[in-house]
Symmetry: C2
Subunit: 243 residues, 2 copies
């Protein structure tokens, strides 16, 4: 299996690309590759090439690109995961695993029951960390696409942003009775999947989402941890739609 | 929401039960409940009762049982997760999350590519820890059933033990081509779902399982971490079968 490196914005067909500094460090200091070693390079937008190390510097390693290769296939459904902000380690795990589960974008959602302080949930540092985690997870899962990480968005604005997509709202089992049954629809072109924070959605949020046509998504009768629910939701939808 | 306590082997209809010491500690010292407070008690075998604290001792709290209550429903499919042993923190997370995802039993599997040393994987201490994690996860997910944790079992013996059940073998995407397509069968009465360790299954293991009628279970085109794959596998099967 070829070691893979991420070179964003590689809008070229042939030639030599310079890796970002963290990728260069990984190539040179961690994997200790040398000039001539075979690698793969992906641009985060679905393109991937074979290549050979042209220079192994720890600041700016370069790769001479070879032939384009067919990357791991992406789903035909463009899924955005809208995730109520969780505490740091749970959020990191959700970003990592949702990337491996093929989402196109992740939108951190600020909602009534988010328990994380505003200075944390709106920090650019947090968004940057999630972007790095998404890159690492794309490498590990062998995706050539790195999901976009949106800025933190209030729930009502997120629902409006989702208006042209199919909207799925995860609901805890205790609320299933009030929901209009489980959705079992055809594969849409794009979908927003909203999964609440630890404290779930407020009644008002459920009403707003429902008014915007959200379908309830109930993941069985048991209570799922907030960091497990998004993974189950994505697995369920891919199983319905085909991966 | 009533605080829930686990009292194994509560084969009674009415009366007073004594909680195990760790549950007593939790009631008395952590939740600081007092005599007369309302609680729920479950026996780990699918029964649950309302009750009131009769004595709040940190070693042996007692509960006076009241009416039986209908617990969270269990799936009609009896699923055993056979999981190739992972490193400690990953294994803990899989036991926790598989319990929340409704498995009836978890069988740690020793297979060719398990990287954990024998003294760890066969230790009674590890099995005991997984049992405690399963109890905690049953409490959190509000199940009244605690999945059985089997002793560590060699893969070939596990496949033999599964002979009367439907057998599912998770395969990484690179092996999908050699597999006989994805299974899409009817709901069985019982199933064994085998998910490999970090290094996957050996060719010989795949052959043995296939000879025993195992169906391949391929979870999309991306490479999933060993601790994510079992959760996706269970979610996929419940989605096919109904939760």
């Amino acid at each position: 299996v070829l070691p893979r490196f991420f070179a964003p914005g590689t809008h070229i067909e042939r030639g030599v690309v310079t890796l970002p500094s963290d990728e260069s460090h990984h190539l040179t200091n961690v994997l200790r590759l040398a000039v001539g070693d075979e690698v793969a390079v992906f641009d985060g937008e679905g393109h991937e090439w074979r290549g050979r190390v042209a220079s192994a510097s720890r600041r700016a390693a370069t790769i001479e690109l070879g032939i384009a290769i067919t990357p791991v296939s992406e789903s035909s459904v463009h899924v955005t995961l809208g995730i109520g902000i969780l505490k740091s380690d749970q959020m990191d795990a959700v970003v990592r695993d949702a990337t491996a589960l093929g989402v196109s974008a992740i939108m951190p959602i600020d909602s009534a029951h988010v328990a994380v302080p505003a200075r944390v949930r709106e920090s650019e540092a947090a968004i940057d960390r999630w972007r790095r985690i998404a890159i690492a997870a794309a490498k590990q899962s062998r995706r050539a696409v790195v999901p976009a990480i949106a800025s933190t968005t209030p729930f009502s604005a997120a629902v409006e942003a989702a208006a042209r997509s199919s909207i799925y709202l995860c609901l805890e089992p205790a609320r299933a009775a009030s929901a209009a049954g489980d959705a079992n629809d055809r594969r849409p072109a794009s979908a927003f999947v909203f999964v609440g924070p630890e404290g779930g959605w407020s009644d008002e949020e459920v009403a707003v989402a429902t008014a915007h046509g959200a379908r309830p998504l109930v993941l069985g009768p048991r209570t799922l941890r907030a960091d497990l629910a998004p993974l189950v939701a994505l697995s369920t939808l891919w199983t319905r739609w085909g991966w």
